[in-house]
Structure formats: structure tokens, C-alpha cells
Symmetry: D3
Subunit: 324 residues, 6 copies
């Protein structure tokens, strides 16, 4: 069992609405705290939305995700996994963004995650908009490209926006492929839908070998079949999981900036994560939760539930003790 | 046909947004009103949430459920049942709670329902949190334990909270089994899910013979199969129906204190009730509707729709005229 | 390809949250503008709710639908259709209602649509409550009755409300049949559900030959089977599509005045439209979006998405160039 | 002291959030109930908004005002008046409107109030939009014109809307003067402000002798000075009080259809009513509360507080026992 | 200057929407942390509302107050006080309540504050409902009764509720006087208003010598005059400040359970605190912030601003270094 | 009288909730439209918030301000000014921002306004965050520094944020002084308040001669006295008016990113504008309206009312026909 220091506060000791809100009620451990050397999975916030080309707000995501994550209890009711007993988890705080300087913030994110990686900690990130994934991958995949399972309603594979802008939340994985951070043949994107400007992104995916599973195929085949294929694509390679909350239908997750109707429901939203139990997860993110568009807090509650499911497969999966 | 006194106000006489809001636009009949002797099903509010260990609000449930219930019309569109013509229904008002004294309120609830039972009225209750079911069962099952079909995302079978507190909304059915109010072999709990503290509740269920159908099984088997089993378990015995609104997915029912994602949709929410047509229902409740977390009123609208479906099976089922 | 004048503003030129909000970011072309002669499909608002017998608000529908429709991009992600390149589309503005004079407003609507029809423009209407469809049909079906595929949770076939009121949002299609605007044998109504006053509407449907597919049948058979039948019923005749947003489950579309639980989800909401690709559509409407009950704007976003899907089948279907 | 039958339910017996919501927790007494002969002030709802030319919703006003009025207790904290002990008050229910027939509803309102007047009951009305005041005055001032103190941001003295429509919420008092229901020399309008179409209303006021006190004068002189003049204008004549909630600044009362910024605050909102203690009030209304634009319920809470203050001056004023 | 350890995180280092939310962005220091010995003012949450007899929710107050308090910067713009440089401040966390056991929670609160007092820390409390003040005073005034300046719309001096319940949020200061925790001759209550059940509370105040300043007097005299008197009443004695957010007008502070209209605006809300600069403050609380009724978060923002002002007078006032 | 082309649509012709929403229901005239040569005051949106260091959202300001501005009628009720008859006004549309490139957007804004200025049009801008004012001033004050009356709770005079970032919404007027766009001796800032980091901004103001009137002085002196001084400071020089909506108390204007409590009410918010009637206004802006934090739309309604008042003083003031 993991260190007792790293156990979340129990709702029987302090009700879940009480106390300072950290991710999952875990201890907050700063990167310069000696206890950080014992951390195996670090929950990190990136409160930043400078890459957002449409409705803003994900800079407020980490705060609200922390708040709603205090509703999570110790055990996964479906799988029985008790993640906090399997590995040492901690809230590592937020990367400090500069909301008025996109490039500087990207550098700060990469630096933070390089340090995290150097300490042998696998990161579970709460975004932030989807551009967040790029500076994270620059740290995690610095040495070699990684595989990726990507849940989203958008491919985020566009070349540029507004006539030449290369860094937006619609372009991170184009950049990641170009920068050799992702092995495109081991990338699968699930849930793609909505109106589009053109087919530039899909043409690029085809050209480099990224597997795109649009929502129509997802609904027709079902979670089991789709996830079986996704897991086969990445196999036993080091894999990054990127989960955009707009993968889920906007009725279930209204608090996001670029919703597209017709997506999965909340049960499918977590079933796809549970299917990752055999994947070698080196890191994961949950991005694009936008509290200003989430009046009830339900999107953040769903997001926190997804983060808990991601934590469970990171804690029990094949990569759980890779850095011990 | 039932007494014309007991007919709800028609939306063609007075639009549904108009008039004093009683349950289903039925006449309000106090327990000391002579007309009460003709009532067969009584709709009762228990505006109380002292058993709530998480987010409060169900004390406001009856008021908002009355408001939204005025949207119900005379006939069930799917089954054709016209409940108000089959039996005499009335709004019996609210049990007066003491929000600052849990034990006193439990006594008041039991006393109220003992009087209801003595008058041969079957109760359909609008909670209130789930602790409400315990004092109700103390009145209804005083003479002999009853069966129960229970829709919920939680078992509510824990022994105690906060290191020894026996009466909370997480413990009513543990108490009810201990007090011999429920026959555990004829209890089925449907929809259980979410993170948990531990397995204490499930171990207790196993030990006493309660059948628990988790949400994964529910989704895999479907409504028809699950409800067929549930009805077989209770058979022709006297059965109480307890419906926690958090059985339904929180996107469909956000107005509740302890939501768990991944639940049934609104169609399944009413299909499970329609499947009860052969059950000997001695009473039913719809609990945990929390208006402060239901900004749009949609949860109460769903709750009122479920109450109407419960009323239809109570009016047309085998127990409809048992107390005539 | 269509006239460049009629291309919507691209989100890459002007972000989608920017600019004056017209339907789909199309040019606004008044009926007296010379450019109107080139328009093939006109998007028209009818900001009116005098026929509403329950909760009001659809008068605000066109404004909010315009706002959310700016989220639509150039291409249908699922079908690949690029409607604005296939036909000339424009925002024709709103019909001016008189909120305090129901009969006068009906006349104004009919006059407006007669002019639209005379110019060879097929209308795609944003209501407005469902009474809107009647004055529209009076213009479009003046010469001969048309067929109709109607998505709704209500039949809107009642004779009168409140003891004799003939023109409400619950009666338009009874009037339309009586006025010989609809061929009842070529009318199909899909999604009917909810509590009812009585069976008067269904008896009328049976008597005149309207096919009613209640939601229970819809859920049992699925979209493909139901829509195959619907398309067979109308065949190659001139067909009007009337889409009441309350067809969709109220969790997905809370912003409406007369919700009924248990309806289709957002994916089914657009799948039924995509199935119309072979229908000769002479006009369509999307009605009963009520912004005051749509605090998040999600209903209008869903409504705008449905309007885009309707536009796609109107642009690519057999009737696309009928008036060229 | 008044009849114990007419005492509101105490919050110490049944908490204020509990029970069926009637106005001020008073007994509901229908017009055909024998108890009605003992009623001195009747609280009546007119759930109707067909005269609304802008944003709709006041049809929902009575329901929400009843709900929030349950927060009122027995005694006025500032003046010490205990209205329910001074006179017999009751909730007389709602006038049944026909939302789709403006003229018919006006007739129904007048008939209802004629009966109320015939029974010697002074009405305190919860609207409804401001057109409501006209059919009420037709009953109350049938025999002779009355005086009026009118709180509003609009004069409601326009001749017609939309090129000839005579009955809207912008025209009731023009009609009332024309119909000799009001003595214009004994009418004062307080709080007038906002943008206007033209000066037609003000010219009419000048022509017939209505005193208009615009908000600039109100803020410059203060409540005491303005109300002293107002009371002098009506003197000891029979006076109707008409209170449009949009008199109050829209930050304090957002739930209304035609807000105008720069109005009185909530303290001034009740001070103006307290100043009416010497006025012979024959009836009063509080109109234009629109719940769909009042997400928090605060407007209805303010409205219920104003109704309570009106009741206090009706109960303690010179006209209190005029009909005994 | 104070210890650098106790400086809040600057918004220039980490934007104010980022990071784990503690009170004022101060370090979280548990009572068993060695650093606690250096704390001079401790900010403490009491997430509890079991004494609430009306609308619930203050249990969520501390969480939301922490969230909004991160908007506070280092310096008081009006007075120039930089509290964090004058004294060592820290977030001491929340007292763990038992939501289902009122008496047990009161004991826990008193124990926590006894420890705080023993360590020479002056507490600034974020409630919780107003019953919170009683167990706090039991710790702070254990040795001798203290003075109190109390901002509220209610006196909270009632003897009991619901026929005998002694511990509710309407009774704390009756108990405190009875228990000799308050010197009633040195207690002043400011802002009292609203409807009342009777005069029992005011009679008690008169009998024991509590000075009550109703809102009418407050508005007539103004902040300066009222506060001069209040400060004279307490003089140089040890004084507790109790600030119920419902002192402020509910338009400015809607997120509370028992609002009363006609109160002070937000400028007056902070001016009354700034007037306390000469008072020997031994502790203070801000109670009754109820997030479920505060959809926009503005009440908590106002509440956090009031807490900051309280902190400034505690840091710069005569008692600032009393425990050094 | 002005050109009939430039008259807004009347609410009597088309109700104010109807039609495509342009500013004040004016015609939309693009910069390349020949009609632009007749425009005297142009209403322009700058949907941009890249300078926002705290809560985002002003990019949505112009859309919502257009929507609510349709509530404005033809005449100022207080001053009698009918702006649209005095000068030709038009909606010039939005400047196209690049949300992911701050510097590029600043260039685009300046270019747009240079063209506006070259055509002799005075701009009335709807922001956008406060950084918007800088690129606007770069166009308007290119030839010579201008005077400014600035309503705000912040000085926006800081040198840099986040350790060196020069362009944020907290720095525009520091830059404008440095770039010689403003004559600091003829700049007055009114309403300054809230917590601060330090006094750097105030020290700079003192050093260059900017007059800062903090809110305490504003409340003590009143609108008339403060505005008299402000108008004297700018005299007859060319003056820019910059109005940050957070000047107003956040209860009246919650929809903004950096609220500070204790500000003016809505009456004072417009009185300060009416006092500008003698000022030579060369342009004006209303910035920082953030719809995601303005759930009710009341902030935008207040903002639109302020824009109307600004338009009235621009239309009737000494500079009204300066470019004729």
C-alpha cells in the first residue's frame, strides 16, 4: 500500500464539501517539497486558454475541477480499484501561466513537465485549452515520439488559424507530429464530428497514418469494439491519453468552448477510459473544461469523474510502477 | 369513476401555469378534513433534509415538485391510464419538520403516516432526503416487513457516518432491515454506481440477501430484463417503491445532492416505473430532489413525471382498491 | 458553385463570436433588395408566440438562433455536404409580428411567405411557436395540399383550447387539414408522447389517415426503420418538414414551453434529418425554441445545428434546384 | 382581532419553505366558498401577459409571488402593523385567463372583480402585465372614476401600438381615462424614465391633468417630499394603487419585461408604500413580475415584500373597514 | 514586517484564478503544524448549517469564500493598510462538522477555537450559519463576557423555534447572553429589519440592555453617526465582530437563506467595517453566505471583500499585537 | 434632420425583440460601403480580450451589447435628445481580431480606426477589454495627444504585468502617456477603488499630472461636483471618453472580469455621462462587458444604456458636427 501521507481526506472525517479543495482531496506537494520524490502520479493544473479561438474560459478549469473532485471517494465502484492505495498521488499545483503571452506560457509548461518527468512522476493534467497538450508532450516525448489515444470531437490537426497562426487549440497535434513528439501511426482519434471548414485536417491524418474514428462509426460499433481497436493501435508502447471534454455530448458537458452535438453520453464517457486498463500510460490530460459556460458545475463534476477513472487505469495499469 | 371532487383542475379550464400549486392540481385535503375518508392515494410532502451528509436542499423538494406537477395532464400517453378517474387522489399537504431536530422530525413523519395508513390511504411521498423513507416505513411496515424495489445510485445500506451517526440519508435501509421493516430477501436495488468508501454496504446486502443490480448490469441487460427480475423478487407481496432521483443520470436530474454520472436517461427513468404494473404497491416515494441545485426546474419536472407514472401504476395495479 | 455574395463569413476571417449575427453568418437580404431574386433558400425568423397556451418565450427564438447559428461552419462533418456552395442562401430577416393581435400576425406571416414563394425561394423558418406553421402553409400550400413529416412530442391536432379557441400552438395541423393545406394520408408525426387530456387528437389522426409514430415505437424500432417508413409515406411528393424542438428530450432541449420527458437524444435529433436526403422539401421550420427557458443557450445551439442539417438536405436533395 | 380562520400558517408551526404555497400562507377561499363573505381583503392572481409587447412572462407572476410570499411573517418590522389581525385576508385564487384570446380574458377579469367588489372585498392583485389594471378598474370604478397613485418607469398612457392596437400593457391608463374610470386630475405617476418613442404620452398627461414625476425629480426631492405631494393629490378620495415592479431599478428587480435603468432601490421601493398610510385605498396591484427573467427569484421576493407593505397600509389605513 | 512565509501568493506570480484556493491565497497551516505558533490571525472555515431554519446552504460558504478571496490583493485601496505585512496570517482550514448531529458539531467548533485561542491566534471565521457564533464565543469568552458589534437584519435573540428548539441560527445571542459570554450592555446590533413573528427578541434586548439600531435609523443617520455610537458602546473592551451577510441588501448579497429587502448597499457594507479601526477586536466572523442561492458568486465576492476589510482592521487596530 | 437611411428600426414597426440585432437597430454599413461617407458617428465592436489578466469574456461583449441595445428607443427620456435625428449613425461592424495573436490584433484595430478617422467618423466603441483603448487612441491621437475622461475602478496605469508584459488591460494608459497619445494633465480618472498590489500606478499618475478621483471622494462629493471638475480639466480640448463597465458597482454590472465592490449605482452611471454635454468628444468606448459572467444580460443592458447616453452627448454636444 502507498504512503499514508498520500491518502486523500475521507468524507467520513471531513465532509466532502469542507476543507481546502485540492485534486481528489490529496495533499498539495510543491515541486520543491522533499515529499515530491515519493510521488508517482502528480495531478497538475494548467489554468490557461490563450490558444482558444472561440469561447474562452478553460483558464478557470483547474480551480473548478479541484472543487468538484472533492466529490470523489476512495474506490472505483465499477472496477473496485482503490488508486490511492496502489500508488502515491499528490496535487502538484498549477503551472503559472502568463495570460497575455502565449509563447512564454508554453515554455513554462514545458519546463514544469520536464521537472515532473525528471522526478519519475507521471502527470495527470487538468487543462486549460487543448493547446496545453503540446508543451506537455514537448517534455514527455522529448526523447522519443509516443503513441496517443485521443478523445475529442475535433482532430486538432489543422495547420494554422486566421491566416497563419500556428499555435491555437486547433493545431496542437499537427505541431506534435511535425515536431516528432507523436508517432502518427500509433495515434487514434475517437469521436470526431461537427461542422468543419474543410478536410485539411482529415487529409493530413490520412497522409501521416493517424486513425480517425468519427462519431458515426463510434455509435454504430459501440464502445467495446472501438476501444479494442484503439488499444491494438497503441499496443504496449508508451502512450499519452488526451481527453477533450467536448468529446462528450454538450448536454452532458455544456461547459466547454467549442461544443458539437451528437456525442457520447456520460456512461460511454467513462467506459472508454475503463477500457484503457492494459495501456502503458505515461501521462494523461483532461482539457477544455470552461467554468464560465458551466453554470451548474456539472461539466466539472463529469470532468473530475473522468480524471478519477484516468487515475484508476494509471494506478492499476501495466505502467503503474514503471518509475519505481 | 372516482368522485368528481377529486378531479384535478383541467388545463383547459385554468392554464397549467395558473392557480395555487397542489400536487397534480388535486384538491388539498388536510388529515382532519372529513373528505379525507374518501381518499385512496394521498400525495404527501416531507420537506426535510436533516439526514443529508453532502449538499443540502431536498427540504425545498415538495414545493417545487408541486409547482412542476401542474404540468401533468389527465392521461398517461403511453399506457392510456387515467389515474384520477380510477381512484380518489388528493394532496394531503406536508408533514411539518423541525429542521433543527432530526429525531423529532422522524417521529412526526411516522405519526403522520400512521394516521394515513389508519385511514386506508396509500401514500405517494415527495421527499425530502432519503432518510425520509425510514420513518415512513416505520408506519407502513409496523405490523410486518414489506418488500421493496429501490431505484438509486447508492445502496443507502451503510451502518453509520462520521464515526457513529446512525441516522443519515446513507443509512435508512440498514436501519429498516435491522428494525424488521423490510424483508431483505424481497428487496432489490437497481442502478447502484459511483465511487465508494468501501464495500461495507455491499457486504451487508450479500449477508442479508438483498439483490443489488449495479448500473453496469442494468445497461448490459436493459430495462425489460432487469425489471422482470425485480418483479419476480417481490412477487405478489406488499411492496414499497423507493425512487431516489439520483438513480437517473445527473445530466437529466442535476438537482440532487449526491449525483453519480453514468446513469439511466429519462426514457429509462419512466420505463422502469411502467414495468411495475403487476406489483402490489403499498406506498412509494420520490426523494432527493434538491431545487437549489436545479436552476432550470428540469429535475423537478422529471420528478413530477416519475410521480405521475408511480401514481398510474398505483391506480391501475393489483393493489389499487385494496383498502376500499 | 453558388454566388460568392451568398457565402457565409468564415471563422478564419472573423471569429465566430464576432460580427453582426445573421443566420449562419449569411448576408441579410431584405425582400425588397434586388439580390433577393438570386436567393434559393431563405432563412426567415418568425418571432412570435401568441399561440402559446403554456410557458411563453418563442418570440425570442429567432434572435437566439441567429446568435448560436454563427457557430456553424461551411461543411457537414458527417455527410460532407457544403450547402452554401450548392445553392444561394440568405437571411431574409424576420416577419414583423404584432404581439397583441394574433389574427393580424397570422395574416402578415402568410403575406410574407406568399412573396417568398412567388420569388421561387424555399423557406427555412426559425419560429416562433408551432402556430407559425399554419400561416406558412397557407402560403406554401395555397394551390394544392402538401405532404408533411412532423417531428414533435405533440400532434398539434386538437380542435380547440379553452372551450373554443381555434388558433393556438396545439391546433395548427387540425386547421391545416381542414383548410386542405395538408394531404393527411401523406402526413407522418414522429415522437409523440407525454401526458394528454384525452384522445381527441389521435382519433382525428386515425379518422383522416395521419400516421402517428409514438416515442415508444420510435425507441423500439430505431431511427433507420422509422425514417424509412416516413420517407415512403411522403414519397416524391412536395413535402413540408416541421420540427418542434420539443421532439428532442428536454434535457437536450430545455428551452421550450411544453417539454415532455423520454425523447430522442441529440444524435437521434440530427440523424432523423439526415434521413430526409431523398425528400422533395418545399420548406421547413424549426419551432418552439424558447430562450427565457434556455439559460445556457444549449437549446438554441441544438436548434441551430438542426437548422444546418435541414439546410444540408434542402441544398443537396432532389428539390434543390426546383425553382431555378 | 380578525377571524382565526384567516390567520396565515406560522413559520414556527410549519417552516416557511413547507406547505402548499398560497399568498402569505393565507387560506385559499374560492369565490363560491361560504367563507368568502367574511373576507375583507382578497389577494388575487391574474396570470396573464397578452398585453406584453416586449419580453413575455408575467403570466407566471402569481405562482412565483405566492411561492416567495411564504417568506413573509406576521408583523411589519418597521411599522409594527400586524395586518392579518386587523382584517380578514384570504387568497381568492387566480382569474382564469385565455392566453390566446386577449379580449375574452379582459372580460373574465372584469367579471371576477365585479363579484369581488359586490362582496365588499378590496382586491390586492398580483399580475400579470400592466394591461391587467384596465379590466380591474372597469369593475372597481364602474360607478365613478377613482384616483390613482401609480409607481412605474412608464406612463402607460400611449394611444396605440403597432399602428392601431388599443389594448397593450403600454395603453391601459389612456383607456381608463377615456372610459372615465380614472379622474385624471387625481392621478399621479411616479418614477417615469427610460428612452421613449416620442412625447405623445406626456402630452396626453399634460392635456388631461395627470401629474407625472420623472425619476430625476424623484431622486432630487426624495421619497418624503414626492409622496407628500402624491398623497395631497388624491386626498381623501377613493384611490387605486398601481405598482409596476419596473418602477424599481432593474438590478433590484431584473425579472420584468421592460426594464429601465436608474430607478429606486429596494428601500425606497417600500418607503413609498409606507407613505400611503392615510390614503383611502380601494384596491391595489403589483404587476409585471416576469419569472422567466428572474432566475434567482429575487424579483418575486421583492414583489412579495411590496405586496405585504401594500397589505399593511390597506389593513391599517382609513379605508380598512369601509366595507364592514 | 511579518514573516515571508505568511505572504499571500501574488497575482503577478500566479494569476488570481490559478492555484489551490486558500483564504486570501495565504499558506494553509494545520493546527498541528509547527508554523502555527507564529500565526497571529487565523482564517477558519466552519462549513455547517444545521441551525438553519429556512433555506439551507451555508455549509458551502467556506469553500466559495476561499475561491473568491483569491481576488483580493495585498493592499487596501482606501486605507492603504497592507495586512499581510503587519501580522502573520494563515488559513487554518475548516472545523470538521457532522452535518447530521448539531450538538456534536457545536462541541467540535468550541474545541477547535479553544485551541486557537490557546495559541494566541485571533480567529476570523467564514461561516456557516449564524449559530456558528455561539460555539465560537464559548471558546473566546470562556473566561469573561465580551462586547459585540453585530451587523445583521435579524437580532438572533429569540428564545426558541418550533416550540422549544433552543439551538438555531435565530437564537445564538440569546444563548450567549444567558451563558454570560456577552456583556449585553456592550452589545450593539445594526441593520435590523424585515417582517417579524412578534417582539419577543426586541423585548429581550430592551430588558438586558442590548442596543438595537434598526435599518430605518441606519438610513436616516448614516454610517458615520451610527458607527460612532457603536464604537462608543464597546469602547476599549474586548470586542467580537459578527457580520451576517444578510445585513447587506439582498440585491447585493442574494446568496443567503433569510434575506430581508431594504438594506445597505455594498459601499456601506464595507464602510461600517472601516469604522472599526479603533476597536479591540478579539475575533470576527462573516456568516450566512449560501452558495446554492448565489449563482453568480457575487455574494461570496462581497463576503470575501468584507473579510479582507475585517482583516485590515484586525491587523492595524489596537489589538493587533496583543498576543505577541 | 439626419438621413432617413440612418434611422433605427422603430419598435412600433418591428418589436424590439425581433430582427437582426445591430447596434441600436441602426443600419449595418461596412467600411467599403458607399453609404459610409455619410456616417458621422460609427458604432464599432472590438470583440477581443487578449489583454485580460483575470477572468476572460469581453470578446463576447459586442454581440451581447448589440442584442440588448435593441431595447433602446429613439429619444432620451431625461434630456429629450433624439440622437438619430441629429446626426447620421451606423453600425460599422466589428474589427476582426486574432484571439491567439495580441500584437497582430492591436495593429488591426489601429488600422480600422485610422480608416474611420480618415472618413470623418467619430467612433463609439463596444469592447473588448480595456487594452482596446490603446490601439484606438493610436489612430485617433496620431497627430496630437488628446484629453480623456476615464470612468473605471482601476487606473490601468501599471507599467507591466507578470514581470514584464507591457500590453495588458492593466497598462493601456501608461502606454498611451508614454506614446504621447494622451496629455496627462488633461486626463481625469473617476471611481478608482478596490484592493491593489501597490501604489505604482498612483505614483505614476501623480508624476505626470493625471487627476485621480477615488470612489471615496466620488461618494462624498457627489456626481455634480466631480463631473464639474472633470469637465473643467478637459475644457474645450479634444477629449476621449473611456468607460469601463467595472466603474459601476458589480451588483449593477456583474458581467465583468475584475469587479470591485462599492461603486456607483445605475443612476449615477448614466448621470456622469449626461454631464458631458459640453465636452468636445472625439470618440468614446464602453469596455469590459463580459457576457459569460452576465447570466441575466443585465450588465449588457446597462452597458447599452450607457452607450445610448454617450451617443446622445456625442450627437448634441459641441463636437457633433465637427467633421461635417
Amino acid at each position: 500500500m502507498s504512503d499514508t501521507f498520500f491518502q486523500p481526506v475521507s468524507g467520513f472525517d471531513l465532509p466532502r464539501f469542507a476543507g481546502v479543495a485540492t485534486f481528489m482531496r490529496l495533499p498539495y506537494v510543491a515541486l520543491d517539497d522533499p515529499k515530491v520524490s515519493d510521488v508517482q502520479v502528480g495531478l497538475i493544473g494548467v489554468p490557461w486558454d490563450s490558444g482558444t479561438t472561440n469561447r474562452p474560459g478553460p483558464r478557470h478549469g483547474p480551480r473548478q475541477l479541484r472543487d468538484m473532485s472533492t466529490m470523489m471517494r476512495a474506490q472505483n465502484g465499477a472496477t473496485g480499484v482503490r488508486p490511492f492505495e496502489l500508488i502515491n498521488c499528490a496535487d502538484l499545483g498549477d503551472v503559472a501561466p502568463n495570460p497575455a503571452d502565449l509563447m512564454q506560457t508554453m515554455s513554462r509548461v514545458t519546463s514544469f513537465y520536464e521537472e515532473v518527468k525528471a522526478k519519475g512522476i507521471r502527470p495527470l493534467t487538468a487543462g486549460g485549452d487543448h493547446l496545453t497538450s503540446l508543451p506537455v508532450l514537448r517534455a514527455l516525448a522529448k526523447d522519443a515520439p509516443v503513441s496517443m489515444i485521443h478523445f475529442d470531437s475535433h482532430t486538432d490537426l489543422f495547420d494554422s488559424y486566421f491566416g497563419g497562426t500556428k499555435y491555437t487549440h486547433g493545431t496542437p497535434f499537427r505541431r506534435a507530429v511535425e515536431e516528432n513528439l507523436l508517432d502518427p501511426k500509433k495515434v487514434v482519434q475517437i469521436g470526431i464530428r461537427g461542422t468543419t471548414y474543410d478536410n485539411e485536417d482529415r487529409d493530413f491524418a490520412d497522409a501521416v497514418g493517424i486513425r480517425v474514428i468519427p462519431i458515426e462509426e463510434f455509435h454504430a460499433r459501440g464502445v467495446d469494439s472501438v476501444m479494442e481497436e484503439a488499444c491494438e493501435i497503441v499496443g504496449e508502447t508508451d502512450t499519452y491519453i488526451s481527453y477533450d471534454i467536448d468529446f462528450v455530448d454538450p448536454t452532458f458537458a455544456p461547459g466547454t468552448g467549442t461544443p458539437e452535438i451528437g456525442g457520447p453520453n456520460s456512461y460511454q464517457a467513462i467506459q472508454v477510459v475503463r477500457a484503457l486498463e492494459k495501456v502503458n500510460i505515461i501521462g494523461a490530460d483532461l482539457v477544455e473544461v470552461s467554468p464560465p459556460f458551466d453554470q451548474s458545475g456539472n461539466t466539472a463534476f463529469l470532468g473530475a469523474s473522468i480524471m478519477f477513472e484516468l487515475l484508476c487505469v494509471m494506478a492499476s495499469g501495466p505502467n503503474a510502477h514503471s518509475s519505481d
